[in-house]
């Protein structure tokens, strides 16, 4: 979520404010992970970032960085599938801010970046927050892409849903699974309450 937020804000701004050729294609590409079956997303990530994949090879040869079948890959898979949801919310939030306010800020001496952050993004903040929550929810539940991309390695890539799935499949794993189920309920509720509180503070 933290990884995808800056990208979502950047792309959200581009899609909300700019008009260019291929905007439709960029829009489609950004939303692809939302529509594709997660297993396909995981498989594509594997093709791209696996040890023999185009990017994966560069990363491991030049930086010694391994992504597939590591915790980094699990994070990336979660970020990728959550991204479209966050992007949608951010884009809508930015679109709802009057672009003339930002221009007024410019005439008052704010540079473009400053104007964007102090006016547009600040006014879009509740929407950005909702987007982040959606992305968090989606990545918490992420299963298909993760298991395809980074497998289910204990202590490395075993995310919460994967762990629950593993325990349920074991003959005596029910108690452990129940603990994890409880944990996910607490996490989800906590996130919901936290975002609601922050959103309310922002509005007042």
């Amino acid at each position: 979520m933290v990884i995808s937020l800056p990208f979502a804000v950047l792309l959200g701004w581009v899609l909300a404010r700019k008009n260019f050729r291929g905007k439709l294609i960029l829009d489609g590409l950004c939303h692809l992970p939302l529509v594709l079956p997660p297993v396909v997303v995981g498989y594509l990530l594997l093709l791209l970032l696996g040890r023999r994949g185009f990017l994966g090879q560069i990363l491991s040869d030049w930086f010694g960085l391994q992504i597939a079948f590591t915790w980094r890959g699990a994070v990336l898979a979660a970020a990728v599938v959550g991204f479209p949801l966050m992007l949608r919310a951010v884009r809508l939030a930015i679109e709802s801010v009057d672009p003339r306010l930002e221009r007024a800020a410019r005439t008052l001496g704010a540079n473009p970046l400053r104007a964007f952050f102090s006016i547009t993004l600040r006014l879009a903040a509740p929407g950005v927050l909702v987007g982040s929550l959606l992305a968090f929810a989606r990545s918490l539940g992420e299963f298909g892409a993760t298991i395809t991309f980074v497998s289910n390695i204990a202590g490395e890539t075993r995310t919460l849903p994967l762990a629950i799935f593993t325990y349920i499949n074991q003959p005596d794993g029910e108690a452990a699974a129940a603990r994890l189920v409880l944990l996910s309920i607490i996490l989800s509720l906590g996130a919901l309450i936290a975002s609601e509180t922050v959103a309310r503070k922002m509005k007042s």
Partner: protein, 353 residues
């Protein structure tokens, strides 16, 4: 001094401006959609001209050939928009200081307290903009722009969204800014009455072209300007001398005017709409109208179903009369007439400079 020499293609016409404004306040007058707002956006850098140059004093803001195009934040132009565009998430105080905070202390010409006092914003400082009235919002927008210590203040019909009473209340603040703060202003409006309360220097714009530029009272009677003014119901202007708070003198004839704050002996302009002038053959008795000027008919023109009778009272005035009335009074060129004007139909203009 603002030097403008720019052109820009718009949807329906090309905006083509070549003027120099030296007067402390210059007004841009023109009907809606004549390119006024575009022109201001070109000056403040929110739109890019297709070519030409813009400079204030020695600072070049835009120069197509030299490749100079300062971004809006570097131009130091205080832009007051038609909709005040206050930042809804900031309090009045934060709005006022938004631009001020970007200035180095040495660049700050005004202290926030001075401006807050001048615009009487003291009681509003901690409120959010959505709790303000239209007039209050516009005052905050004014203050916000002034506190950026601008080289030039450009006002885009700042009073249009307000009702007449509020307009009258904001106008004194604008006069304060003009007189006390000494910030050059470019004031855009389609209401000539508003403009004349601030300045007599006018640029008349129509369909992107400058029709005339100069002292309003010397250009107002030009044949291409008059129709524009007439379309806005403001045709007649007289230079008069104030002799009492509610009386002025013109050519040894006394006129009653609405109370004004000018000192006796001051020479001011007054404006009268053509359809507020009544013509009659004899000086009437038993009428409530106080103002009756002797005049002579110099021309009768019929256009677009309206008839205008031009009369000479020492200066040319236009009076709108129905064609039937012209027939009934049997008016013809050279006839002496009496013209009647209601006191409250007279608008007070600026000082004669």
């Amino acid at each position: 001094m603002l030097t403008l020499c720019v052109h820009r293609q718009l949807a329906e016409f090309t905006l083509q401006i070549d003027v120099t404004c030296t007067y402390p306040v210059t007004a841009i007058f023109g009907p809606s959609g004549c390119g006024k707002t575009t022109l201001l956006n070109l000056i403040s850098g929110l739109m890019r001209p297709d070519g030409g140059q813009i400079s204030i004093d020695d600072t070049i803001l835009f120069h197509a050939e030299k490749g100079i195009d300062l971004p809006p934040e570097k131009r130091r132009i205080g832009h007051v928009f038609q909709d005040d565009l206050l930042f809804p998430h900031l309090t009045v105080r934060q709005n006022l200081l938004y631009g001020y905070q970007f200035l180095a202390p040495s660049e700050r010409k005004f202290h926030p307290d001075t401006i807050i006092d001048l615009l009487e914003l003291n009681t509003l400082l901690d409120r959010l903009p959505n709790l303000l009235s239209g007039g209050e919002r516009q005052r905050v927008a004014l203050g916000r722009a002034i506190l950026t210590s601008p080289r030039l203040l450009i006002l885009d019909e700042p009073l249009t969204a307000l009702d007449q009473e509020l307009k009258d209340r904001i106008m004194p603040y604008l006069r304060h800014i003009r007189t006390d703060l000494g910030i050059p202003m470019l004031y855009v409006s389609h209401a000539i009455g508003e403009i004349l309360q601030l300045t007599g220097q006018v640029i008349v714009l129509n369909r992107g072209q400058v029709l005339a530029h100069g002292d309003f009272f010397s250009i107002a009677h030009q044949p291409k300007i008059l129709p524009l003014l007439e379309a806005h119901g403001f045709e007649n202007v007289l230079p008069v001398e104030v002799i009492a708070p509610n009386r002025v003198q013109y050519n040894n004839q006394t006129l009653h005017i609405p109370p004004c704050d000018r000192v006796s002996g001051t020479h001011i302009f007054i404006g009268i709409r053509a359809n507020d002038i009544i013509l009659c053959r004899q000086r009437p008795a038993g009428l409530s109208i106080r103002n009756a000027l002797s005049a002579q008919v110099i021309d009768i023109v019929e256009t677009h179903g309206r008839s205008l009778v031009y009369i000479d009272v020492g200066k040319r005035l236009a009076a709108e009369v129905t064609p039937e009335a012209i027939g009934e009074l049997a008016l013809k060129i050279g006839d002496p007439v009496i013209c009647l004007i209601k006191t409250h139909a007279i608008r007070i203009g600026p000082d004669v400079s």
